[in-house]
Symmetry: C2
Subunit: 240 residues, 2 copies
Amino acid sequence: MLSPYGLDIIESCLTCKMRADRIFCDLPTAALQAFESIKYATAYPKGAVLFVEGQAPRGIFVLCKGRVKMSICACDGKTLILKIAEPGEVLGLSATVSGKAYELTAETIDPCQVNFVKRDDFLRFLKEHGDACFKVAEQLSEKYNVACHEVRALGLSHSAGEKLAKLLLEWSSKNGESQKQEPRLKLALTHEEIAQMIGTSRETVTRLFADLKKRQILQTKGSTLVIRNKAALRSLATTG
Amino acid sequence: MLSPYGLDIIESCLTCKMRADRIFCDLPTAALQAFESIKYATAYPKGAVLFVEGQAPRGIFVLCKGRVKMSICACDGKTLILKIAEPGEVLGLSATVSGKAYELTAETIDPCQVNFVKRDDFLRFLKEHGDACFKVAEQLSEKYNVACHEVRALGLSHSAGEKLAKLLLEWSSKNGESQKQEPRLKLALTHEEIAQMIGTSRETVTRLFADLKKRQILQTKGSTLVIRNKAALRSLATTG
DNA sequence: CTGAGTACGTGATATCCGTCACAGGGTGGT
DNA sequence: ACCACCCTGTGACGGATATCACGTACTCAG
C-alpha cells in the first residue's frame, strides 16, 4: 500500500497490534469484519483538518497513527485546545451518534492514519452489533469524563499557575514517568499552544515557566522538561 | 401510593405522560417492561444528595419530577454548578456505564421523584436491549455536547458579563419565551447560585444585574425578570 | 413583634493577567 | 549566507474582578 506522508499504513483492524487495548479493536471478529467492510482507511499530512466545529457530522474518524489537536474556537479567533487525541481514539463520535454538529475542530499535528466511517454506515453497524454499541457508550462516557475534568480545571482553578501545574502533572502521568522521583517529559507543544490548553495567554505561560525554573521546581534541557520538585508542583496544582 | 414530600407519584413508565419525548420512556414496550422490573421508584425531599462526585457508581437515577442541581466542587469549598437537571434526564449515566467514579454531585432542589436502577441490573439490561443501548449512546452524546458548551463558555468568554448574558439567553430559550419581544423568566436561583453557574463571585453577579438594569437591558418585577433589549443582551453575549 | 438567618446592594482595595511593544535566538528556504 | 519567520523572553500598563467589609431588606419561627 501507499505510504503517502511517510506513514506505514496499518492494513486491517484484524491484524492491528493495538487491537487488545483499544475500542473498536477489541470486538468479536464478526463485528470487526463488519467494521472493516464499511471503513475507509485514509492518510493525512500534518496540519490537515478532519472536521470543523459546527459542521454537520459526516461520520467518525478512528485515529490509528499520529496525533490530532481537538479544539474549539471563538469568533474572535481565540482558540482553546481541549485535548490532543492519541491513536485508538474515536473522533467525532458524539456528533455522529446524536446527529448534531461537531462540537470541536480536529486538526492533525502529525502525519496521521485514520479510519473513516460514514454516518449512515456507522449507525447501521451500531444497530446490528450490540456489543459495538456498548463500546460506543463506554467511549462516550470516557469523553464525557474528560470534558468534566476540563470544566473543573477551567471553572474552579482560578489561577493560571494552578492550571499549568495540573497540565504538567497530567502529562507526566501519561508518560508513565509520574512515579519517578524527577519525571521527564518532551515538550511537544509551543508556549502558545500550551496557553490555548489552559485558557491563558502565551506571555503568561512563558512567565510561569520562568518562575517555576527560578523556584527550582522545573528545569529544561532543550525541549525536555524535568520536574525537580514534584511535591511543590502538586501543591501549586491544588491551591493558587 | 404514598406521596411522601407532597409529590404525586408516577406509578409506571408505561403510563407516564412524558413517554413520547424522553429517553427510556420512548422504548419498545418489551424493553420498557424489563426496565420497569429493575427500577426502584423513590422520592426525595428538597436538598437530598443523590450522589457525590468521587463516589463509586451505584447506578443511574432517572429524574421523573423535580429539579436536581449538578455540580462539581473544589477542595476549598468553591462550587461550580454545571446544570440544573429537569424531568426526563438520566443522572449518573456516564459513571455507571464506564465504572469510574461519579464526575458530579447531584442534589435535589425540589422534592423529586426518581427511578433508581442498580448498576449491575442496568448493564445487564443494556446488553439485552440493543435499542436501549443506542438510546444511552444518544443520551451520552447529548451530555457530552452540553459539557462542550460549558467548556466553551468557561474557557473562551473571558468576561463575567458575557457569561451571564449567555446564561440568561439560554434560560429564555428554554422557556419558549425567546421568540417574544420581551422574554420573561422566573429567577429560581439566588445570585450566589448564578455565580456558581458562571464561575464568578456573588458580588459580581449583583453588580452585573445592577448594570444591566441601569442600561435598560433588564428589568425585574419581584422574582420575574424581563429582557427589555434582547439585541443588546445578545451582543454582550458574543463580545466582551 | 422580634430576633436570627439569609439574600441582596455597594464601596474600597489589591492582584492577577491580558495586551502592547520590542528584542534576541533558532530555523528553514533559496 | 542571508533574510523571513516563528518562537521565546521581558518590561510597562491597565482593566476586570476577587475579596473584604459593611449596611439593608426580606422571611420565617417563636
